[in-house]
Symmetry: C2
Subunit: 216 residues, 2 copies
């Protein structure tokens, strides 16, 4: 059994580096458009440069970083226009997932959704935007999970990863939670009612509102 405390060297160092780096970017530890120097990252995460390199290539494929030949890597900045385009894709794909979930989810899973709806209502009433934002993510995640649509889920995860900054910014806007709560509850209602078309429409209405908010 190899010592796991210091995964500096190769076995799954790449995976380690990739996970660390991805989370660092998603949490905003790296400033937008910041240069990512391979040597620095290698020393920082205590892995070899090759591992960092492989991780950066993977992240570039995910759209989280941008690589320019002989010029290095930067964290990719998503313009508002791109964020809108991405959210439009999210809209149709999550609509598909919701419609599927309305048909495929089990009764226990539908109960989870109604519980989540109550928790979200409470979070808004108590004026806790952070909690609400977390529950929001959980709701979207559960809908995707219940749909059983692996392909769409994979695509959505990639798309969402590129939006963390804009999303975060949006969640803290005053008055926004109240505005989106009713839309979220409508999503839950239509899915638990096992009405695919209504569920898709509800998701679309919600994300159309998100797009409008994104545009300021």
């Amino acid at each position: 059994m190899p010592k796991e405390a210091r995964p500096s060297t190769g076995e799954q160092a790449k995976q380690h580096a990739l996970t660390q780096l991805r989370q660092a970017i998603l949490q905003g530890d790296m400033a937008p458009a910041q240069r990512l120097v391979e040597n620095e990252l290698a020393e920082q995460f205590d892995v070899t440069r090759a591992s960092i390199r492989a991780a950066l290539i993977d992240l570039a494929a995910e759209g989280l970083v941008e690589r320019i030949r002989n010029r290095g890597s930067r964290v990719r900045v998503v313009t508002v226009e791109e964020a809108v385009a991405i959210t439009e894709c999210r809209m149709v794909l999550e609509g598909l997932c919701a419609a599927k979930a309305a048909v495929a989810a089990s009764d226990e899973q539908l109960t989870e959704l109604t519980d989540l709806g109550r928790a979200m209502t409470k979070a808004v009433a108590d004026g806790e935007p952070v909690t609400y934002s977390e529950l929001n993510s959980e709701l979207h995640h559960k809908v995707r999970e219940f749909s059983g649509q692996q392909t769409a889920v994979a695509l959505l995860e990639r798309l969402n990863a590129q939006l963390v900054r804009h999303r975060f910014q949006l969640a803290l806007r005053p008055g926004r939670p109240q505005q989106s709560l009713s839309q979220h509850l409508a999503m839950i209602e239509t899915i638990t009612a096992r009405d695919p078309q209504a569920a898709e429409a509800a998701v679309r209405a919600h994300l159309t509102s998100v797009i409008a908010a994104l545009r300021d």
Copy 2:
């Protein structure tokens, strides 16, 4: 100026290898589930193993090949279920593109579509399924292009790459062209009428029919 006749060594050898390999897979030169040995491919394409390796990693990110640790790469086989799931995603994303295209396309571009529709009608009347299949791809491609939705287009290209085998199989089925022609013409009509909702509905109807056909 370096000699371009023998791009064996590294500069853009990776790109060369990647393109070659991708086309080989898409054209079906590689049997499904065939093992892809890095050394063999390196010799076959006359590039270094590192280039082949990088190309395989990229193709894995595209979903065209499957990589298992210490066990090599294989061309990924898409089951019918997966093909259906992928086509469902295509359905909503192409629906989005069609709706966008109905609004964003220029008048010249709409003319291209009507011309394409006439050509498709003629191909069916003349009983040329191969020509029809090519025009079919061209139509879908143009709709995506005219939408201006870069994100959706990128996702769709990835999805379509995984379906070539099933698509090919489907196009040669007797009676299928006649069946899909009217749906394609409906797509063209609704887009040229600049009616986003009808265009999306037409695309969905078409791909719903494709899904049904996929299931045999």
